[in-house]
Symmetry: C2
């Protein structure tokens, strides 16, 4: 039996100078649907959590969803337990992952997403931490998390903001700005405007258009599994 996981992993939170989450707002609405009323926001990737929560709240309210920021909760683990949907915003991946560990959220987020099937949206660093590890981040290690292992919601690595030209990278998916990966259970589909580049160890990187079925990456024996 597959996991009921539902993930929308965004490469970035804006595109070509457009507004915050503007390029993907229809994707977010159709992903969350009408049953979800409130989204739990995790602003840990940026230093100014209040300002970040204001930006995210404004956007989600404009799309018809209430937004609670986990940094305003006195019990973050309990906030995850009660959440209907989780959105982790971008920023610095090291800062984000360290805060997830410091607040003991790794286990509880995994449980809510992989077992209970609540929708997870990640943007940039929030997409990075959804994968097995942050080994493929381009961010600076401004803090030292207790591990590079991340939430492991998918069994491979993602490199958000992937830019040409080729750099030698193995076993990861490079998501260009504007690209999203939609995961519904055991089905994964590339969405958005720009496409992705797939790096398999020992093979030539391959280019993939929006609409590509990436479900084979979700199996335990997937070629990106290290």
């Amino acid at each position: 039996m597959g996991s009921p996981r539902r993930l929308l992993l965004l490469s970035s939170s804006s595109l070509h100078g457009g507004g915050y989450l503007e390029h993907c707002q229809q994707h977010i609405q159709s992903f969350l649907g009408q049953k979800v009323k409130r989204v739990l926001f995790i602003p840990y990737a940026l230093h100014d959590r209040d300002a970040y929560a204001r930006t995210a709240r404004e956007k989600f309210e404009s799309l018809g969803y209430g937004l609670d920021s986990i940094h305003e909760s006195c019990d973050p683990v309990e906030a995850i337990r009660k959440s209907e949907a989780i959105f982790i915003g971008g920023g610095n991946t090291f800062r984000l992952l360290k805060a997830l560990y410091d607040n003991n959220l790794i286990h509880e987020i995994r449980k809510r997403v992989l077992e209970d099937g609540i929708p997870y949206i990640g943007s940039s660093a929030g997409s990075n931490v959804a994968t097995i590890s942050i080994n493929t981040t381009n961010d600076m290690p401004i803090v030292y998390p207790p591990s590079l292992q991340a939430l492991g919601l998918v069994p491979f690595n993602i490199n958000p903001h992937y830019l040409d030209p080729d750099i030698k990278r193995t076993h990861m998916g490079g998501l260009r700005e504007g690209t999203m990966l939609l995961v519904e259970g055991d089905k994964a589909t590339l969405q958005g405007a720009t496409g992705a580049r797939l790096f398999l160890r020992g093979k030539k990187p391959t280019e993939h258009e929006p609409g590509t079925d990436f479900s084979f990456l979700l199996t335990d024996s997937n070629p990106l599994n290290p």
Copy 2:
């Protein structure tokens, strides 16, 4: 009393497609002088240590110095103890720092450089690990070192391969390709062709030409000291 340390910290190992260490070979020769006969090379930042040692050996021999690569020694700590001069090459900063820890070299290199005053040359990642920490590397965290703290031969951070335009960074020196920092005891001077950008917390970054005296960065109360 100041430390007898002598450091030559290179931003990169080549410039504009030139040969390996070509742009700085005169600097290396005048830094090592005639008393040094053999250089101990640390190739840990790259995967293929044999090939890396061949490249470095060829260059140093052409400059009149013998080169031993530490990966060919059965006792790396002893190799540091006996070394006349150390050169740490570039590559991946995380891989390099982890190997320095794994081989218990941090303490011994510090002792040789800060107390015994043997010359230290670092290039790129090798310059990064000479500083207090690798928090300002641009490299991917392909492995997980036991700490981000580095050799601490100087009390500030360096960002090798520093590229414009501005990114928000605090308390570090951005060394452009082709730039070097020469440290002799308590005197630090910018050398090379391209200059550096200095980032002080809460201040506007400032641009500095080759020849700039950076000795104020070496004091304990230096503005880059976090």
